[in-house]
């Protein structure tokens, strides 16, 4: 208001000055015409009229121009910030004008108001976008996660938090790998895919089926299909979006197959435990009193019970392979020691058939990266097969050593009937039982199928060479530990998880 008062008094004083000057001018004019030049009254009146008209024309024009200067500046300021006339330049406020302070004040007020309005508009727009985004994302009954360039979760909807039983605060700002502990049925895991598209693509999407997720504090794993959308150029930094489609119920119904097998295995194991227990007692306490014939039977009983144990374990492993639940943990192991253990465990079964197992194991082999239990089953199955198909021959040779490719190769050779060329291709199929009829040889044909699955999961290679009438040689390779560790350089070398069909933990490789 001070500025306004100042402006009014400025206008008043300037108008006063103008009017005084005007009066002086007319008076001086009259005096000059009358006394100095001595014009007659008629001419004097005429000159005064002309002078008055001139002053009445010029002075209002100058005054108006001068007095409206502030209005013009304010008008220019308003036009400058108005969206339709934004090309009007900003008023030059440095120029000294009438009411300079008032104009400065008003124009700065106008600018402030404009910026406030602008902010309100922007906030409202953002709020509406956020509202829409949150509303849509949270109304979506599917877990939805948004990741930034560092795989950090920057958004997770309500469904996500419900699904993985964590609060928003426990999820936002965390690495996706610590939020979602996922396992995949194939080698193409989410982290591998993401790593790849980050280097090679701008926009990419992919889906995975039967992904498993461990939820803390729950025994049953979640199972779902996963969809991922990657966009490196997303303006809001939403680089990767993940949507989870839960199928825990239907997928675990598929797993009931294993549930049944697990039950059957439990029921079968109890009598086997007892049989082996009683045989154990008899062997220890009766052996010396038995006739050689009865001692032989007892020996065979022992071997048979062991064979049954192997079969039960095979059955379980096969059902795990089929349900993608065979999880191998690769550790550094001494290969010769494993071969020794298997050979010594199976020698009884060979002996009751009158067969001896000869070993030819290289001494200087490097350590290997294998799952001890899984690979034990492979060697045991190959020896078991060799025993079954040896016929009248009494010799099995197991060899192990480094091959040309730098892999540790193990072969089991028998000198039995051999396999006709035509059936070799099907040997590793499920339930395939060579060309011999059931009455000649026991077994279910699961052994080779399982062995192949386990060797494949080790990323080894299994093969067979056979000539009818001369016997067969089955061989497989495993990777030396150093080589495996090299491949997994960035990972946790002591615990490399593998599945049959390559059931893989998402990443042993992530860093938080």
């Amino acid at each position: 208001m001070d500025n306004l008062q100042k402006f009014v008094s400025q206008v008043r004083s300037r108008l006063f000055v103008v009017l005084v000057i005007n009066n002086i001018f007319i008076y001086v004019d009259w005096w000059f015409m009358d006394r100095v030049i001595g014009l007659d009254t008629e001419k004097l009146i005429f000159t005064l009229v002309i002078t008055t008209v001139l002053s009445l024309t010029i002075l209002p024009w100058l005054s108006a121009k001068y007095l409206t200067q502030p209005t013009k500046l304010i008008w220019q300021a308003i036009l400058h910030i108005a969206p339709d006339t934004a090309n009007v330049p900003a008023p030059n406020l440095k120029r000294r004008t009438l009411g300079h302070d008032l104009v400065m004040n008003l124009v700065s007020h106008i600018y402030q108001l404009a910026s406030v309005v602008d902010d309100i508009e922007k906030t409202e727009a953002t709020r509406q976008t956020d509202l829409k985004k949150d509303f849509v994302a949270n109304a979506l009954p599917l877990p939805l996660l948004v990741l930034d360039k560092n795989q950090t979760v920057i958004f997770a909807n309500h469904a996500t938090c419900d699904y993985i039983k964590r609060t928003t605060n426990e999820v936002i700002g965390q690495s996706v790998y610590s939020v979602l502990d996922m396992s995949f049925v194939s080698e193409e895991t989410f982290d591998k895919w993401l790593d790849n598209v980050k280097h090679n693509a701008a926009v990419e999407s992919k889906t995975w089926e039967r992904v498993r997720l461990k939820v803390e504090g729950e025994e049953v794993q979640r199972q779902f299909d996963l969809a991922a959308y990657f966009n490196a150029e997303n303006p809001e930094g939403f680089e990767t979006m993940l949507v989870l489609f839960d199928h825990t119920e239907s997928y675990s119904q598929d797993d009931q197959g294993l549930g049944f097998i697990a039950l059957a295995v439990h029921e079968l194991r109890t009598p086997v435990t007892l049989l082996r227990g009683y045989i154990d007692v008899f062997e220890e306490e009766l052996h010396d009193t038995l006739t050689p014939e009865l001692a032989g039977y007892l020996h065979k009983m022992h071997a048979t019970a062991e064979g049954l144990t192997t079969f039960i374990n095979n059955m379980l492993s096969v059902s795990r392979v089929e349900n993608d639940q065979l999880l191998l943990k690769l550790h550094e192991e001494n290969w010769a020691e494993i071969v020794d253990t298997v050979v010594s465990d199976l020698s009884l079964r060979a002996n009751v058939q009158g067969i001896t197992i000869e070993k030819d194991v290289a001494k200087d082999m490097p350590t290997v990266g294998v799952d001890r239990v899984g690979i034990y089953e492979v060697i045991a199955n190959l020896i078991d097969n060799a025993i079954k198909y040896s016929g009248t021959s009494k010799r099995i040779i197991i060899r192990a050593g480094l091959n040309k490719e730098g892999m540790v190769e193990t072969t089991v050779q028998d000198f039995g009937a051999g396999i006709p060329e035509g059936v070799i291709a099907n040997l590793f199929d499920k339930y395939y039982r060579s060309h011999r009829s059931r009455s000649q040889v026991g077994g279910t044909g699961l052994g080779l199928y399982l062995s192949k699955a386990i060797v494949d999961a080790h990323r080894g290679h299994i093969w067979v060479r056979s000539k009818e009438g001369q016997g067969s040689t089955f061989g497989f390779t495993v990777i030396p530990y150093a080589k495996l560790a090299d491949e997994q350089k960035n990972g946790d070398n002591n615990d490399i998880s593998r599945g049959a069909h390559g059931w893989i933990k998402n990443h042993s490789l992530y860093s938080r």
Binding site: T270, G277, V281, E284
Partner: protein
């Protein structure tokens, strides 16, 4: 290290001073285990019930506890949790899970973390069990 016994493990009379609790509801199996363990000089107690097995174990008088998982009243997993879980008082006994039950990998891994060993009964004969226990100190 001083050997625990100087006589062969099959001599039934010699007590090795170690106490074993067998929590097992399959009578024929516990019978075989008791026979083999007693012969090897162990002082063996048997319990078929989970709850009573837990109470016995909590007396902390056993060197070794053989714990089956499928047992009546409370399961072996529960017993294990109560003996080894957070807040449980210290227990001198070594706990060895003896089961024929097949677990999912991750459940088995969880059990193995709390127990001292995990055996599948069908894969060890009583004699092998005794041999194994002699390695548990």
């Amino acid at each position: 290290m001083k050997p625990q016994q100087t006589t062969p493990p099959t001599t039934p009379t010699m007590n090795n001073g170690r106490k074993v609790l067998v929590v097992e509801d399959e009578h024929f199996i516990s019978e075989l285990y008791v026979r083999a363990l007693t012969k090897a000089g162990y002082d063996v107690s048997v319990e078929v019930d989970g709850q009573r097995g837990l109470e016995l174990a909590q007396t902390n008088t056993f060197d070794i506890i053989l714990l089956d998982l499928m047992i009546p009243t409370i399961t072996g997993i529960e017993v294990l949790r109560k003996l080894r879980g957070p807040g449980a008082p210290p227990l001198k006994s070594k706990i060895i899970i003896t089961t024929n039950l097949e677990q999912r990998e991750e459940i088995r891994a969880d059990i193995e973390k709390q127990a001292d060993a995990y055996l599948v009964k069908a894969e060890v004969t009583p004699r092998e069990l005794v041999e194994f226990l002699s390695t548990i100190k």
